[in-house]
Amino acid sequence: MNIFYQDKLLSHIDSFTLDTLPHTLLIQGDLGSGKHLIADYIVSKFEFPCIDITEQLNLDTIDEIYLSSQVRFFIIDTDNISVKEQNIILKFLEEPCATAYIILLNSNKKLLETIIGRCYKLVLHPYSKEQLKTFLIEGCSEEILNVAKTPGQIRCLIENDFIIMMEFADKIFNNIGTANFSNCLTIPNKLAFSKKDNGYPIDIFVLILIYKSASIYDVYMLTNKLYNNLCMPNVNKKYLFYNYLIDLKCIYNEKFRRVKV
């Protein structure tokens, strides 16, 4: 298992023993920073069985955990869980089980404060541009480093054809002022708002939009607002994006009108 540039965090994890390992850990880091790798590192160090219960978060699962005498790790990716599911986790955190070690993974998305307060936090260190350069594959544009902040984001941008995504973002910004709303509403068809959808993942595409919008203040602030709203739990990302497009069109229409005058 190769985890790069997180030596401080790894040595902190190495210092844990079975007696000192907290029963609830919260691993925090940007999307693609290596949270799953860190979780796997912890699990392999202590060699207990591990189950990902993100898709089965309900009271029956919690009851089963309490009734089991086997020591196990349980991983929960909190990025897309609802407030109701967070409350289920909270119930569990308030009365920890001696045989269960819970590892929560969070990409700095909004989590209930009461959950954060009950967990031992392990925070991944941000990556520098020089460090990220080592993750680029041959032939990749270094412009990716202006967009991606983590190795996972670099990989995702490469897999989804970074250049095509950049061109798509350019097309949006260049044409949205003059396109009719009917055409604007077809833009989300090229994006993936959930795991089931095909298209460019919205969580990655919004990073490109932020980068591309940096030169226009209103657009940059609007795009950052979209990015922050996408971090809220349980929201419909597609509907957020629709409103983003409407606001964007209004900004560009206004700019066009001013230029015309």
């Binding site: 009917s182 055409n183 077809t186 419909n236 957020l240 629709y242 409103n243």
Partner: protein, 293 residues
């Protein structure tokens, strides 16, 4: 396949055997439940609804002795081997040909049959009153349920029916659905919206669901209204759906459509982050869509 009339004859002549019966349905299983009830009465058996056919494998000497009529419901039995069993009734939509000798095809319940059923149960109630009751019930089970409120009394059914109407006993019935409300909003049909709002507590309208349906509907209208040259193929939808959406175009000006769409998306976000209470949503949505028209 066997004829249902044959089974009906056996029931009427009280000559139903313990042989397995399979009902092949295409719609509701209401007719089957009537037959099951009749068979259980004739053979003096309790009815037991089972979740699987695994009970058919005998575990002991006593397993073949039973005083229950087992009923099993499923979507299809094609590959499964049903060990021959007595006092077993299966209700299914698809059945393998190897069980054709046990299978009765149950026809779809027609409207005139439902009316006949209601008229026969309550002969001394005016037909137009029963027709009204049938029109406001959503399905045959609901009709049967409402009729049973009257049939438990031996006479004076018409008097009781009138009493029930004035006491609002049937007031929780409505033939409006959430789609009637959304269609009325899309067409800016204020009188219809008012009518539906009066019966709102009887309609199953879930606030988040209403907002989602409206968002999708207004988005579809925008896609077509803003581009009159748009076709079903370009939108990737069926032609009949395209024309149904087109009929909803033109009730709001373009700028108003965008404002409504934006407002609905915002409401969805505020609902999901807990900024808006769900109890207020229906009134809030209707006021904001129809207001300022």
């Amino acid at each position: 396949m066997k004829n249902l009339e044959e089974l009906k004859y056996k029931i009427e002549s009280r000559s139903v055997s313990d042989e397995m019966i399979i009902f092949k349905i295409s719609d509701t299983d209401f007719i089957c439940t009537q037959y099951i009830k009749a068979i259980s009465e004739i053979r003096h058996l309790e009815i037991e609804y089972v979740d699987s056919l695994t009970f058919l494998i005998p575990n002991s000497l006593f397993d073949n002795v039973s005083d229950t009529l087992k009923v099993f419901r499923c979507d299809s039995i094609e590959e499964e081997n049903i060990p021959y069993k007595t006092d077993l009734i299966i209700i299914t939509k698809k059945i393998s040909d190897k069980y054709i000798d046990y299978t009765y095809e149950v026809p779809k319940l027609e409207d005139w049959q439902i009316k006949d059923y209601a008229y026969s149960l309550l002969e001394n109630i005016k037909h137009k009153d029963l027709d009204y009751l049938i029109s406001i019930c959503k399905d045959i089970y609901r009709i049967d349920n409402e009729l049973s409120k009257l049939t438990i009394f031996s006479d004076k059914h018409q008097e009781l029916f009138n009493q029930f109407i004035s006491d609002d006993v049937f007031s929780d019935l409505s033939n409006y659905t959430v789609f009637d409300l959304t269609n009325a909003l899309l067409k800016k049909d204020v009188p219809k919206v008012n009518l539906i709002l009066k019966e709102l507590q009887n309609i199953d309208v879930e606030p988040i669901g209403l907002v989602t349906i409206l968002i999708n509907s207004f988005r579809d209208v925008i896609s077509i209204q803003f581009d009159p040259r748009m076709t079903a193929e370009e939108l990737g939808i069926a032609k009949n759906r395209f024309w149904a959406i087109k009929r909803n175009c033109g009730f709001y000006p373009n700028t108003r459509l965008i404002k409504i769409f934006y407002m609905l998306n915002t409401i969805d976000f505020r609902l999901k982050v807990g900024d808006l209470p769900a109890s207020m949503i229906i009134d809030y949505v209707i006021t904001n869509i129809l207001g300022d028209s």
